[in-house]
């Protein structure tokens, strides 16, 4: 295994090679932010399992060799391959990225309604650099503030790596009071060659005041080749806006998927996020939401379906900074064979955030002897005017329910399917968009039918 030192050298050298070719390299604020980010990463290195926030994800498993940095030149993807991976796709404005680079040929943006801008960071940095500076210039969430007073940069080193190396990705800008009818679908395909490819997609969504938008992110591809995705998605929900943000994480079984969503909510805005993960060998989906304005409303849901040797880690943190906010979280995992599932969720109610409400729920189904589940729902309350609760369960299917169904002539396979579907369905049915519910159900059926 290579040492951390040599990894640092590798990334530093790589940064030196590409920094002048990255989009917006001539912008001073941006090159400063990138330099700061790579330095931050070099200081911290890969987060190890000793870092509390990363205690369930072992990154060292992948560091046997240096990754090949994703390049647009490996684009050999046919449209029908993508269609097959997407099942049949829902009507949408679709942008496709291959190894983190925009692929015009496969994209189908269609006719955009007035007030909706769908472009790439490269273009946006040329056209509206000041807008990009507002959202990219501030390294948001670089320090982990713990209650003991400690400020630890280590949990954020992968975000820093993305900020330094990302060639940019989609930028979605929705104007004031605009609500596009169709969802925006971002498809990230990973194509690997003989050795592991690493890609660093970075997405930005800005929902203007009073707007409403649905975003679906899909991460697929990879086949059996090892690869690593280190994604960063930033969402800014302005006053009174509504963002519905879905994600399907379904890469091949040899992949590493690390993703961080950074969400900021202004007053009276609504964010509802749902992550459906059934892919990747090792995956970690992190969501950080800050309710910065009064009466913010946040829903964070997740479904993780694991089998084989899969490891799925879900990490969330919601900060209630302003009064009258509300958070609901529901994460459910189904773990079969030797799969491992983890949920770490934290809600912090700051002293100023009076009249806050938060609900957190994590449930895990263990379907086999060797499956494992870890759960850590966490509340940090610094204010007495709150109503907060969390719950967590781990167990097998209820034998009585199975017996009930079987005594009515339903065979065991179907009975189990019914019960598992109902278990997962509770989360799916919370999604506000009906077409996406159907899409997630399809993904579930496909996953279930692949059971060995």
């Amino acid at each position: 295994m290579l040492t951390a030192k040599s990894h640092n050298d590798f990334y530093f050298e790589h940064f030196g090679n590409i920094k002048s070719d990255l989009p917006g390299a001539k912008l001073q604020w941006l090159s400063r932010a990138r330099t700061e980010a790579i330095e931050r990463f070099l200081d911290c290195g890969y987060p190890t399992m000793n870092v509390e926030e990363w205690k369930h994800t072992n990154l060292l498993k992948q560091s046997d060799s240096f990754p090949v940095m994703g390049e647009p030149s490996v684009n050999e993807v046919a449209e029908r391959d993508i269609e097959a991976l997407l099942l049949d796709s829902i009507p949408s404005h679709r942008m496709v990225f291959v190894n983190g680079f925009f692929c015009q040929r496969l994209s189908d943006v269609g006719a955009l309604p007035a007030g909706l801008r769908l472009t790439t960071a490269g273009e946006m940095l040329v056209e509206q650099p000041e807008l990009m500076e507002e959202h990219w210039g501030q390294p948001w969430g670089f320090l982990e503030h713990r209650l003991s007073g400690e400020e630890d940069p280590k949990p954020h080193s992968m975000v820093a790596l993305n900020m330094a190396l990302s060639p940019g990705g989609p930028v979605i800008h929705v104007d004031r009071d605009v609500s596009p009818e169709l969802p925006i679908h971002l498809v990230n395909v990973v194509v690997s060659e003989a050795s592991g490819v690493m890609s660093q997609p970075r997405t930005l969504l800005i929902a203007g005041e009073g707007s409403g938008v649905t975003l679906l992110e899909t991460y697929i591809g990879g086949g059996v080749q090892p690869h690593m995705v280190n994604a960063l998605t930033q969402v800014r929900v302005m006053k009174g806006a509504t963002v519905r943000h879905y994600k399907h994480q379904g890469e091949g079984s040899n992949s590493f998927h690390l993703a961080t969503n950074l969400v900021r909510l202004d007053s009276g805005s609504t964010y509802s996020g749902c992550v459906f993960s059934n892919g990747g060998g090792i995956s970690r989906n992190e969501a950080r939401v800050r309710l910065e304005g009064q009466r913010g409303d946040c829903t964070l849901d997740g479904i993780y379906l694991g089998r084989g040797q899969q490891h799925m880690d879900n990490w969330t943190r919601v900060d209630h900074v302003a009064p009258y906010g509300e958070t609901r979280e529901m994460y459910k995992g189904v773990l079969d064979e030797k799969a491992e599932g983890a949920f770490q969720g934290k809600v912090r109610i700051w002293p100023e955030a009076i009249a806050s409400r938060a609900q957190q729920l994590n449930k895990n189904l263990l379907l086999s002897e060797d499956a494992r589940a870890f759960s850590k729902p966490e509340l940090e309350i610094l204010n007495d005017d709150v109503q907060c609760a969390h719950g967590s369960t781990i167990g097998d299917l209820d034998q009585e329910c199975l017996f009930y169904l079987r005594s009515r002539g339903v065979d065991e396979f179907v009975a189990r399917k019914l019960l598992i579907e109902a278990f997962v369905g509770e989360v799916i049915d919370r999604a506000p968009d009906v077409p996406i519910r159907a899409h997630f159900r399809k993904l579930f059926y496909q996953w279930f039918s692949q059971a060995s």
Partner: protein, 486 residues
């Protein structure tokens, strides 16, 4: 004025001055020199007339501690001034000639101290039927009821005496549940532990009375490091109580104890604590740092260990009474009420490690935070691969009084067996205005209403306390939240 505002006000009014155990007993004490080094460890060992093997054990722990001294744990949600381990006394004992043979020989000043604490040793011996071991600073001063217990073969004595009289038991069990290398404070304790209680219940014996230890820190600038070891042999049963107090002093004093419980086949140990160390004044000056390692091992099948704790004192409490459920069908329980007022901080909870089959555990934790108090429940429930049909239920609720306090919940839940059933639920809220309104509408005053609600909130845990303690605990709840809960 609304009830809530009034409540907050009265909590603010309640000051550390209400700590009624804050007196100092003027008594001749013998100190080891300040600071901590190998010589101090040798000094303590020599004072106690310890055999060679125990000294070696202590020295090994000391060297381990020395090598980790820079790594004082920081993971807890606690804000504390760094401790200077060289600026404290590690041994203080009431000066006296021979060890007392009976209560009549005990220094009358000491007896009076315990009288003030509400533990009249004589009375207890005569009336209450509770056997008491009283530990003053670092030394056990009196143990009652020894004779009667000895008839049943029960050993209940200071641990230093047990080292002398029952070395085979101590050798076998000391450090077997909490090894010297366990954690920073346990290692420190292993090096410098002074005294504590030792209990051995022989096979098939049900201890006919409650056993009890009272700990008292008296001298200034001292740390107290007691060590308790309870072994319940097959088919035996024992209930053990522990209480603690300290004088009011402006500096922080360290209390780093280790408690080890061993339950063999079918044995049943119930361990109750009412912790009322000096919590510091209303501005957060002084108070005890209570860093305690408590752990029990259900070694035999069908054994049971139950922890009940009422934590009202200490500036900082850092304590996780745990159960290792090794034997099949063994049971672990944890019931806790913790109160933090003024600038008190508590990071407390439990660990339940399910190893054997059909093991079950229950965790009920109630936290009440007022003033600037910060409180964290931190718990681990782990089901190992072989723990078929393990079962856990956890409930932890926090009640917040006042807008400057905090209540946090950090549960770790890990399951490696599909037949296990693990459930956790937690809530955090303030006393509902509607609840108060309901009570007041029926003619209760604000104070009565809050008291009723808080008592109801803690009821599940208080019910688990032995009767002798339940009364005291309820009183303590009142004192700790004086003004707020009547």
């Amino acid at each position: 004025m609304s009830a809530t505002v009034e409540t907050i006000k009265s909590v603010e009014e309640a000051t550390g001055g209400d700590y009624k155990y804050g007196f100092v007993t003027d008594i001749d004490s013998e100190f080891a020199p300040k600071g901590l080094n190998e010589d101090i460890v040798r000094f303590i060992s020599q004072k106690k007339d310890e055999p060679e093997w125990l000294l070696d054990w202590r020295l090994k722990a000391f060297r381990l501690w020395e090598s980790s001294v820079k790594e004082e744990p920081t993971w807890a949600n606690l804000k504390q001034t760094p401790m200077d381990f060289q600026d404290a006394y590690y041994y203080a004992a009431p000066k006296k000639g021979e060890a007392p043979k009976s209560l009549d020989e005990v220094d009358p000043d000491l007896l009076e101290t315990y009288e003030k604490l509400g533990i009249p040793l004589r009375e207890q011996e005569a009336l209450a039927g509770v056997a008491v071991d009283a530990v003053f600073d670092s030394v056990s001063v009196a143990t009652t009821f020894k004779g009667k217990l000895a008839e049943l073969g029960i050993i209940f004595c200071p641990i230093s005496e047990a080292v002398r009289d029952h070395p085979e038991l101590i050798k076998k069990y000391l450090g077997s549940v909490v090894p010297a290398s366990d954690n920073f404070y346990a290692t420190l304790n292993s090096a410098v532990f002074s005294d504590g209680s030792f209990v051995y219940i022989p096979k098939g014996v049900r201890c006919p009375m409650e056993l009890s230890t009272y700990f008292r820190i008296n001298a200034a600038e001292t740390g107290q490091f007691e060590r308790t070891l309870i072994v319940a042999d097959a088919d035996s049963q024992v209930s053990y109580l522990e209480g603690c107090t300290a004088p009011m002093r402006s500096e922080h004093q360290l209390h780093a104890a280790v408690v080890e419980l061993v339950a063999l086949e079918n044995a049943d140990i119930k361990y109750s604590t009412v912790q009322n160390w000096y919590p510091g004044d209303k501005d957060g000056n002084g108070g005890i740092y209570n860093f305690v390692t408590k752990r029990g091992a259900c070694r035999g099948d069908n054994s049971k260990i139950s922890w009940t704790q009422v934590e009202t004192g200490s500036a900082i409490t850092w304590k996780y009474p745990s159960v290792i459920l090794q034997g099949d069908n063994s049971i672990g329980e944890f019931f806790s009420v913790a109160i933090t007022n003024n600038y008190q901080q508590a990071d407390t909870g439990t660990k339940m490690l399910h190893i054997g089959r059909n093991t079950s555990s229950t965790i009920i934790s109630k936290g009440i935070s007022a003033g600037h108090g910060q409180q964290t429940y931190r718990g681990l429930v782990r089901v190992q691969g072989a723990a078929e049909k393990a079962r856990n239920f956890t409930q932890c609720d926090s009640l917040l009084i006042g807008d400057k306090c905090g209540g946090h919940t950090v549960p770790y839940i890990e399951a490696r067996n599909k037949t296990a059933k693990v459930e956790h639920e937690a809530t955090t809220s303030k006393i509902g205005d509607d609840q108060l309104f309901y009570c007041r509408q029926r003619g209760l005053s604000d104070e009565e209403a809050v008291s009723l609600i808080v008592n109801g909130f803690c009821k599940e845990v208080l019910q688990k306390l032995p009767m002798e303690f339940a009364v005291e605990a309820q009183k303590l709840l009142g004192i700790s939240l004086e003004g707020a809960v009547g």
